[in-house]
């Protein structure tokens, strides 16, 4: 049996020992409930959005500013998560060192932390008064991180970084390292192997890492409002704008929420065909 045929994809109608097409009725019910759980709020949002006013709301200064800021913050955050996350994933997958389990646990922690707690943690690290690093930065260099766009980026990165690392880890683990060995024997330097073999083979997982962390960064609220504050044009990202609007102009809140949803949908759809399966 040739290896090439082994690696040939089997026909999509792979025969399976299980009866095809027979899904337990109970599963169908539960699955439907699951879909409903997610779909109902979305449906409610669509129905509640003031469609006649939406143009006026979304082109308002508040909305546009928040949109622009959100895009900048989320994209910067995703980029940082990738640049730091890829080497970290590499080290976690291929390195051996004492305390690796602990390191991994620490890196995953923001994922299960309530965002406001994350915000408090960020203050404890980067606040100008009580922050471990922040107070030093402030005293010696006069640098204050809170209330800046950088703080918003920091907050968004903190909560979305684990997602990037997890996705990249999965990608690296799924690689056949022997392909990298083969590339080396064929004359490729380590950097060339990374560029031309490792990363291309990890395409889908890299895309997933970027999308997941970008989406999480886009939606970040608790840590941002606690650590970065809320100021239009500087730290008021879309979620913060929605929250503020919710207090005064619920119509606008729904409209901007719809914008967020549509943004997320657009990204998911754009990548669905190629990468996210």
């Amino acid at each position: 049996m040739s290896l090439a045929t082994d690696s040939r994809r089997s026909p999509s109608t792979a025969s399976s020992p299980l009866r095809r097409g027979r899904i337990p009725a109970g599963f169908v019910v539960l699955a439907a409930l699951g879909v409903a759980l997610v779909a109902l709020p979305l449906l409610g949002l669509v129905l509640r959005t003031p469609w006649p006013r939406i143009g006026e709301i979304l082109t308002s200064e508040t909305a546009l500013t928040a949109l622009r800021l959100s895009l900048i913050v989320a994209t910067t955050s995703a980029a940082i998560s990738f640049v730091l996350g890829f080497p970290l994933a590499w080290v976690l997958v291929r390195g051996t060192f004492p305390g690796k389990t602990l390191v991994r646990a620490v890196v995953i922690l923001p994922l299960v932390m309530p965002p406001v707690v994350a915000g408090v943690g960020l203050l404890a690290a980067f606040g100008r008064r009580s922050g471990l690093l922040g107070s030093w930065l402030y005293e010696w260099f006069g640098i204050q991180l809170t209330f800046t766009t950088a703080a918003a980026v920091l907050a968004a990165t903190f909560v979305s970084f684990p997602l990037a690392v997890l996705a990249l880890e999965a990608g690296l683990r799924g690689l056949d390292e022997r392909l990298e060995d083969a590339a080396a024997t064929l004359g490729a330097s380590r950097w060339y192997v990374l560029r031309r073999v490792t990363v291309p083979l990890m395409g889908p997982q890299i895309a997933a890492a970027l999308v997941l962390s970008w989406a999480r960064a886009l939606g970040e609220f608790g840590a941002t409002i606690t650590f970065a504050g809320n100021l239009q044009g500087r730290t008021q990202t879309l979620p913060l704008a929605v929250f503020e609007q919710l207090q005064t102009d619920t119509d606008a809140a729904f409209a901007v929420s719809m914008l967020l949803i549509l943004l997320a949908f657009a990204v998911i759809l754009a990548l669905r065909g190629r990468f996210l399966r």
Binding site: R48, L123, G127, R129, T146, G229, N230, L231, T235
Partner: protein
């Protein structure tokens, strides 16, 4: 649809209001107006966050005076609270930090009864105890680089702060120093306590005994200051209308002393 939002908010509030039943029999489920003394009853009160400490104490006293009653508070920015009520949240009593939002419930919402002003409050500049930016008065707030935090527009404390700036003729410079618009006045205080903000505009009453070590009050001159008037009312549609009225009367009566203890001024 409105109905879905009503259901959702109701569900959340009900869950919050459902405390463990006291000893003995439960009366019927919520809505079965158990008005007579001694029967179990739950009262939901939405109150401005500046009333947190004072109303907490008042709530306990009211419960003690009306055995079988549980008072559940929903503290937050008055604009947000009014919004919830207007969307149908099942609130019995609403206490706002400004008449504006009581008007909103009255005109755009379910309406109110037994409306009365029950307190007044002054605003002040609040700085961290060590006052790193050396703020002494309103004009200092216009200095370059001052990190000033106020509540957002719509939140009474935020509107009042802006009004004060306007009164003092320092709007442009002061607003330029605002680094964050907080969702309620308590968040302003938190930012000042943590030392991240150089100064904030909050209520005099916000410097409670708990935080008096960590912050200092700088008074605002009367001629530019705003006196906030706090109205309270029973929300139409309340299932505990009698009890709600009782609570309003309590606040207007015995509760006045508590309010004074916490620094509130008597109603006009």
């Amino acid at each position: 649809m409105r109905k879905i939002l009503i259901l959702a908010t109701s569900a959340v509030l009900l869950l919050a209001a459902c405390s463990d039943s006291n000893d003995g029999g439960t009366t019927g489920t919520t809505g079965a107006g158990g008005g007579s003394g001694g029967a179990e009853a739950e009262l939901t009160v939405s109150a401005a966050s500046s009333l947190t400490e004072a109303f907490g104490k008042i709530g306990n006293a009211f419960e003690a005076a009306n055995p079988g009653t549980t008072v559940t508070f929903n503290f937050g920015p008055s604009d947000g609270l009014a919004g919830q009520i207007n969307e149908g949240a099942p609130v019995d009593v609403f206490a706002s930090a400004s008449p504006t939002w009581m008007d909103s419930v009255q005109d755009d919402g379910p309406g109110v009864t037994h409306r009365a002003d029950f307190a007044q409050n002054r605003l002040a500049i609040i700085v961290p105890a060590d006052n790193p930016a050396g703020i002494e008065n309103l004009d200092d707030l216009t200095e370059d680089g001052v990190q000033l935090v106020i509540a957002a527009e719509g939140v009474p404390a935020g509107d009042y702060a802006r009004e004060i700036f306007q009164n003092a003729g320092i709007s442009k410079a002061a607003l330029a120093n605002v680094v964050s618009n907080e969702e309620d006045v308590k968040a302003v205080i938190t930012k000042v306590i943590s030392g991240e903000a150089d100064a904030g505009i909050g209520y005099v009453t916000d410097v409670t005994p708990d935080v008096s070590d960590e912050v200092t009050l700088m008074p605002i001159p009367d001629e530019v200051n705003v006196i906030a008037t706090y109205p309270i009312a029973v929300v139409n549609g309340s299932q505990e209308a009698d009890l709600a009225q009782g609570f309003v009367e309590y606040v207007l009566g015995d509760g006045q002393q508590t309010l004074a203890e916490y620094g509130f001024l008597p109603p006009p």
